[in-house]
Symmetry: C2
Subunit: 423 residues, 2 copies
């Protein structure tokens, strides 16, 4: 297919699951594409908690964006930070003063964790969205055990060995189960003064159950499984305070030196750039065709939007949803260039998966519900399948094999700070 | 073997090649060991340049020290920073106020890079000693290509695409060759506005030849091989200035935004702790039995000392030398506990190896000298053999296989900073 001399310019902001899928699906279309991301890598976020718990290496779940698109000469990758959108003149503005013209703009700018008006909690309770977040959490977890090993005061030692996870969605459940595995199976023989199996892992959730997006029976199974791993599950308990010494929830104070935030997200600044309507979590409200109201040439997808396109329910903030939206946008752009129009976006839910511990998971396929070891195998195979490239599939499979056969985790590295790091 | 109730206390500072080997070789001796390191991991430094050039992941060349010693209950690993030694009362002092008593002390505290009185150069010309150093250099190299891709001014673009390595010892040669490989083979198809093959890699050396520790003919071969890869080799040219914009050498100014320091090291502060005699690079001068003069209960080994125990020549600062010294110290401690005394330490040089490019290396086994592809295979097999653990051997072998078969480097990650990073 030849590209016209002045082809349609598509600018895609964000190379997460949605933005990358839109780019892939525009292959062969008579367009030129500029893909902008402030990171040089696409990140496989569903496994980020495994970097945070020393199970996987950073490079096993991240790929250079340019490399993924090396065979697409019509795609230009820009390593740049977007500062705004001038919709009147159809320009994306960059922080370094540059700008990029578009005919069609796709905003796929994702979300960060949010602290519900308590941004000061972030320093004590980091969240998990980027590779740096993951290595920060990993450092805190590993340093906590190191400090406990050298602490002689039993009260302070107990606080070092208490790990609090706030929020019992999939990320919180996965973190809690994996930290329990780490303390029970990986670390015990490595320490001389502490019994790492006595570490407390406390999962605190404001709502009435864990994995609220799953059916009741799978939630109950997940909770029972976590408790068998030794995780203390506290439900219906909103956290009212985070400090360097611990958390306050339900009027109780819990001394803990390691707190991880998995409780909420806030969308990117895309709504602000456009002055467009957004919900409490700053998510753009989009039309049924995923365009921004009043801006038919601007699509918005993924975690930065809220869509009711799933039997009236909001589409969940998961990778398959973002990918379906990216694909819809690509098809929609191609249809428009042919002078056609697609029917509204409809989300098809393939299933929900969450790992609990080393060999346990829950899966909700709608009619079929799975739990335990069989669910874990399907979970593992599905995740390896969705990784990019044979090399990473082999590497992750090998890392998991070692964890399961020998309880050895490859990436127990404390980086960005020597023993002098406070924590 | 039973350990006496009040066993001999050995404190080893530094879990590099020397300190770890001493710990290993003391297995079964009637001693208790405290191994202190300010990092939680042992680092395979000979491959650090491969992390800096995106070829290997950090976790492929680093292992948690505790994990390596998990089956040695008489060994306690301390994650702490040493601030001094009180030789009179036989105590090691820690920065956090703690202290550890010893009967025998082994100082294996290594070296950092040194700027010969120009410490202000470090910000523009980072060296390569820790994992963080390596990810910093990796970030600078990758960001340079990203900036060049977006630079429209040809002069500034050329400066972005100029990579200067100062010092042509093994690390400098290996860095130069691998950056040339990266620019020529890995990156070209990923960029749209620049031809990465036109990047300049300039290796500047004050002395008269590259790889000064090797015989003349291997030096000449290494230089010719580098030049075939496109590396510009500048000999007899001391660098007199490093700035954010480039370097000055031999009166000439070279505009370059990426400078890497591989020119010199300075030993740790061990000599200062003891008020003991040291050479210009702060290396302790030790007795023929590797004890510190006037301190028969303190051994010092590895890069923090200078020893003339190789036919009168100084022992080279390489991993096998540190390991031989660690082994000697362990045997010496065991001999003393039996009331015996070992003959002086003698270094046995097994050979010198350096990789040049993707499939080239030089090896000097004394009588036998090898070069080219056969040397590269021996280099690769030797390095995989010396890695710790089957898992890491498999992982590194796989990473190298992918580089060689597909020119794909797994760890092209810009971390610790988004596109806003200056550089």
């Amino acid at each position: 297919m030849t590209t016209p001399s002045n082809p349609h310019q598509v600018v895609i902001v964000g190379a997460g699951f949605g933005g990358l899928e839109a780019t892939y699906r525009l292959a062969g279309a008579p367009v030129r594409i500029t893909l902008i991301d402030r990171r040089n890598h696409h990140l496989f976020q569903p496994l980020l908690y495994q970097v945070a718990t020393a199970s996987l290496a950073t490079s096993e779940i991240a790929w250079p964006i340019r490399y993924l698109l090396r065979n697409r000469p019509e795609v230009t990758t820009l390593f740049a930070t977007v500062s705004g959108v001038d919709a009147a003149s159809r320009r994306v503005l960059l922080e370094d003063g540059g700008e990029v013209n578009y005919d069609t703009l796709v905003l796929a700018t994702g979300a960060r964790h949010a602290y519900f008006g308590h941004d000061e909690w972030e320093q004590w309770a980091p969240g998990l969205k980027t590779l740096e977040d993951a290595t920060t959490v990993r450092r805190r977890i590993l340093v906590a055990f190191e400090r406990a090993e050298r602490e002689t005061d039993p009260v302070r030692r107990a606080a070092r060995l208490t790990f609090v996870i706030i929020g019992a969605g999939p990320t919180g459940v996965e973190l809690a189960g994996t930290i329990a595995d780490l303390a029970r199976d990986t670390l015990p023989r490595d320490f001389r003064n502490i019994d790492t199996r006595k570490a407390r892992v406390v999962l605190i959730e404001a709502g009435p159950r864990v994995l609220a997006g799953f059916p009741d029976d799978l939630s109950a199974y997940a909770q029972a499984s976590l408790e068998r791993l030794g995780v203390e599950v506290m439900l219906g308990q909103p956290v009212t305070e985070c400090t360097r010494d611990g958390v306050v929830y339900g009027g109780k104070t819990l001394a803990a030196k390691t707190i991880i935030w998995a409780a909420g997200v806030r969308a990117s600044r895309a709504a602000e750039w456009l002055g467009a309507p957004a919900d409490r979590a700053c998510r753009l409200q989009v039309e049924p065709d995923l365009t921004v109201p009043g801006h038919p040439d601007i699509f918005a997808i993924g975690d930065t939007v809220t869509i009711s396109a799933w039997n009236g329910k909001p589409v969940p903030g998961i990778a398959p949803a973002a990918k379906q939206e990216g694909r819809y946008v690509a098809e929609s752009i191609k249809a428009r260039l042919r002078g056609e129009k697609l029917p509204p976006f409809r989300y098809k839910h393939a299933g929900s998966l969450a790992q609990i511990g080393k060999r346990l998971a829950v899966i909700d396929f709608g009619r079929i519900k799975l739990r335990g070891a069989i669910a874990w195998w399907i979970w593992g195979i599905a995740h390896i399948y969705f990784l990019i490239g044979l090399r990473n599939r082999l590497a992750v499979a090998m890392s998991w094999l070692w964890i399961h056969a020998r309880d050895q985790r490859a990436a127990r590295l404390i980086t960005q700070g020597s023993s002098k790091v406070t924590g």
